[in-house]
Point group: D2
Chain length 393, copies 4
């Protein structure tokens, strides 16, 4: 860890509130443990569940003070805004359809926000949040947390340094199988809202995992799609939203891309993989073996680079925590996203200038792009897999 | 090996001639060594190269009798047809554009034929060969040899037995990088003709490796595409034919598919991989680790099945040669293709009925389908990646 | 997570102090982050470094109250013992040679202790600590943290349930290469004390990583060695302590074992691997891919079992945090060790009965066994690799 | 393939006879197919089985002339010696205990010999064969065929070129599980003789696979053991010979070594693996993925080198047959061993000088060393795992 980074920052930690994250969910606990890892922010307020008892029990478990347990997001925004010791930021970890009003409420009261992805149901909603944040001078993070893996940062740095030469092709996939059958017909809470158009929007799998793939590809290559063509489908009979999509892309500079994503691909756990091929070398990264990066050159060996085994680019090194061979995982990538967000915020509060590593977290622009990705894929698919331009609303 | 299969057949081996396969090539030697492995056919005649000296030297190395070294395919077909000890079949291992006239010449003289893929440049040419073979009652094999791997046969048998349940998605890729730069501008013999539209047809990579992928997918699943959509492109600037293609497919019964293939994908050797996902299980096979098959079920472990370690389906067992852990490779898959072809032919000559294992080699219909695949992809791509029906000329 | 486990426990968290863990070290930060993950204990006191400024800076970074920053372990034990809000336990993360006096000081003042491994330099010292803990009714944990991985617990449960049948052979290795050259001649802090007989004892690598291997083998199989034979050596010329050892073991019931361990094995990161072979099945686990367990049976496929993908034994499930495919790593295994220790302690304080999962952390007996392992290997090696009984002082 | 190597040699192929290799065996067929691959030798005589009918049927299948089917090895040696067109060499593929008399008979009649391993039951027998071969100026090959893999030759060349620096440790293992239960009590032919002391000698597994490991380690490193210490045991209760051995070795120059070998290690197919660690780099090769070699350096990536993907040492290139990604396997490694033997013999017959690649096959000295390895391990184990010198009878 660099000198000017986290250590001293722990002396003036932030406070945060959480909306969502009650019993039965998964991601709320991830946000909290990720934030606990570096000691940069303490949970101080919360509206965890609509059910008052469940909300209160969660708050007690988390040692949130009694007077800062709220019964709605709006109430929390309003009341925290009045406190002198108001929370520094809010973490929004609810189902998709309420991201927009909740984030808006907090931004309007002057709170920095971190929100889960996909950011909103509609593109204009996401853009609206961006405008609000801009207008109020607030930070807005979106937890495309897979960017937080050190070897993802190493990959990005390699591409930026030209180690791959001119890029030629981006091949990504994200395959899971937990929706291999109609789990949405059971009591399964996650499947329930994720496959309900009212709560998840025009698409399910595209939003849940497709946006991660889109984000990761752009994060590593620095390229934005110019147009795409998609077949969005449900492999499981009877399903009303997508569980699978196949997407051809064109990126800036004429680089071609391909995404395949599915949550009904029997045999896959959480298989997010990306290959970037350049004229001089290719790289390959897989979320399920996140501590390694594979680099190949024409006529040369396949090099498996372990995190921290040898020199890495500084932007990767700063987010590597343990010696090589001591596996880092999902929690660390999430913690790194928050570490950047919190470091920036602590420095801003102290009147200091955040450095490049501090600023290395996905912001509201990444959130907008994710929502656009969903809509463009559905647009294309509805036209029979026609090319559609990526830009625009 | 089953009782009625190869052993006894070696007592009355076949003779064959070869067209092509002179110095500098690669595949001719593969055909010959594959045929030598089981002792079912002996090389007895040949036209190996246009250059007379090179042709003769090759023939001498291969101990082909002096009087059966020919200076053209037509001459070989004509003269062999007149001999009492005429060859049983011919193996055609030339560049693509001369497959058609050569195969035709031999069929017309009553010879069984084995030809490399892609079978012809035009669909109607391939259909013409099929008609000729049919008319003369001749066998016609096409060396989509990857079908010869025992674990491919095991995969096919598993699908046929319903172990995967209803199929849902076929995801295949075939990536190489030997054409990562414009090798066709050098003296490289293979790159020269493969990227010359006159000798290779409308497409290069699609024909060279795409047809293998198409064939393998159909071989394992039993499904034929009904329509497809393709982006056919050259990643290497200035190249006049394709080195890469991305193909969305629809198969019979509404099964979706995706192929990605490239010979300019830096970092890939000979990466032919296929995943078939069903409602109950998925399978995964990779040509570079051909002795294993990976089977996965929802909520279950990933099972890596080694060839011959435990019971396999009989159609796989019959083509497995060594105990588990004793790697079989590329030569064995090729040898298995020829073993089937020769076993069938020996039995036919002896008035015996070939069994299912004998008949398990790709025939002229596979050859036609390969040529159709190439044309359909190019057709679609030329229309901007529009859906095109697979059937038809 | 089970109902009666962690959630409610967070409402009455523990406090702890730390000895060691100042700047330049590695493991102190691991202990602290592991403890932060579950919110079961808060750092409240510390003696982090001999240098007063470094100690104070560290304490400030960690928000330890000014009046609980100490200048010696003894002072901390004495003064904390006098406080009403005295810490619940101490975490000892110093070099090996001072474990004994420090632990002793805290035990004598009635504090529960968690200490790094190897526990002490001499067997009788470790036994002395055990007696003290016993006498005072105190808990004593030793961070053989690799036991904390869920798939290690799954492995242990499988063996206990008889899934492997009678055990036949235990084959373990632990290979690193960070001591591939004489790093101890540089300013490298860790290498300095680890290769200094005064601070590390009779053996270096045997203590640092060999004890983990010994502990893991016994944890998973439930078997203790009855005798062993060892070649203890330095591969790097000039080194005064061991960097490598090869150990043949005999376990209870006549099960054979083999360990190979090295910190000069060029090409290895943190390669702790264990294979346990039984009459019916074998298992294989590797620390660098900790979320999977490989199970094999005669004549059957190799099954790669992913954490949380399907049903696991309850003792593994309770320590699995994220869905399958969301990698857990080194920090989680450490956190699990502390989670068990803290859960037990919180329940004891509340007059509740800890359950089996709570008690699943390595205690002082594991610490004694580790020290004995070191001595037995050196004893054997000094006699030219003769068999020595494992038991005794 | 180099200019002066195989091509021209096929014009004057050798003839050979075979002793053993009848129905029910495995290795005879391997020898024959390996020899068929390069067309350097033709099977012309044979004594395949004691049972006359089975011998004759095999001969007919293999198209051996009727007058060269023999009813004993001695008869074959005698009668072939009298023929003008006598065979050039004999391949001996019988159970171990008759290797000695058979090889002796052929050497005494002036035939070159290739014999399976382990060469003989007793060291002095093997030495006797070496003397006979020397005396009569005859070639003697022993099929330690795993040396034939191109990446093994690449490994050897890398070590010889100093790419690993001073060697430090050799860690080899060879694990199978086909003898995981008492198969020798069934009708299983191989298990029957391999676990019968009369036919297999003092040790079973040590001879069957241990000798391969010993040979491979020496082949790659160029080092011979100076002393060893072994625990030789049967994991399967009731077994009269070994199925497992653990061996510590000391090599010339003080390099340490460790072998673990078992045929009752549930979960292993044919797991021959070798790691060689030097001061500058390490290498790792596994027979089950023979086309790759893994090279690692301190602080660097793990490099997986694919056969023929990039430049290799000439001694490896000459035995590489197909482009990278086209798997070679067990048959090719065997074929390479014979290719070397036959090339040497053809050149000797033609008065030409064999080159280094031709001479790269294991000879009678390798055979003697293998027998010595078996005896030394058993000697050590019988003394309770004491160190024994490797040299001597």
């Amino acid at each position: 860890m660099t000198e000017d980074h986290s250590p001293a920052l722990t002396r003036t930690p932030l406070t945060y509130g959480m909306v969502g994250g009650g019993p039965g969910g998964f991601i709320g606990q991830v946000h909290r443990q990720a934030l606990a890892m570096d000691g940069l922010a303490q949970l101080t307020a919360g509206f965890f569940a609509r059910d008052e008892t469940r909300c209160r029990e969660t708050a007690l478990d988390l040692r949130v003070p009694q007077d800062r347990i709220y019964s709605s997001a709006q109430e929390m925004a309003d009341k925290e805004a009045e406190r002198e010791d108001r929370i520094d930021f809010v973490a929004v970890v609810t189902p998709n359809h309420v991201h927009y009003p909740i984030c808006k409420a907090f931004l309007q009261r002057g709170f920095h926000v971190v929100c889960d992805k996909p950011l909103t149901l509609e593109i204009h909603e996401a853009e609206d949040l961006a405008e609000l944040a801009e207008k109020h001078g607030l930070m807005f993070g979106v937890t495309h947390a897979y960017n937080g893996y050190p070897m993802v940062k190493q990959a990005r740095a390699m591409v930026a340094a030209g180690e791959l030469g001119e890029l030629r092709y981006i091949n990504g996939e994200y395959a899971q199988d937990w929706l291999w059958q109609r789990l949405e017909l059971t009591e399964h809470k996650q499947a329930g809202w994720r496959l309900d158009p009212k709560r998840t929007g025009r698409a399910s799998t595209l939003g849940d995992i497709g946006t991660h793939l889109d984000n990761l590809a752009t994060y590593i290559t620095g390229l934005t799609p110019t147009r795409l063509l998609a077949r969005v489908e449900a492999l499981v009979p009877g399903r009303v939203l997508d569980d699978t999509a196949t997407v051809m892309l064109e990126y800036e500079g004429g680089v071609s891309g391909l995404f395949w994503l599915s949550q009904a691909a029997v045999g896959h756990d959480n298989g997010l993989k990306l290959r970037v091929m350049g004229e001089k070398a290719s790289l390959e990264w897989s979320q399920e073996a996140p501590d390694t990066l594979i680099i190949k050159e024409p006529g040369g060996p396949s090099r498996t680079v372990s995190r921290a085994r040898g020199p890495m680019y500084p932007e990767a090194t700063v987010y590597s925590r343990f010696p090589s061979g001591h596996p880092e995982g999902y929690l660390e990538c999430f913690a790194n996203t928050y570490k950047a967000f919190c470091s920036t915020l602590i420095k801003r509060k102290a009147g200091l200038e955040p450095n490049a590593a501090d600023l290395d977290f996905p912001g509201v622009e990444a959130g907008i792009k994710g929502v656009r990705f969903i809509h463009r894929c559905v647009d294309s698919s509805e036209r029979g897999a026609a090319w559609v331009d990526f830009a625009g609303d």
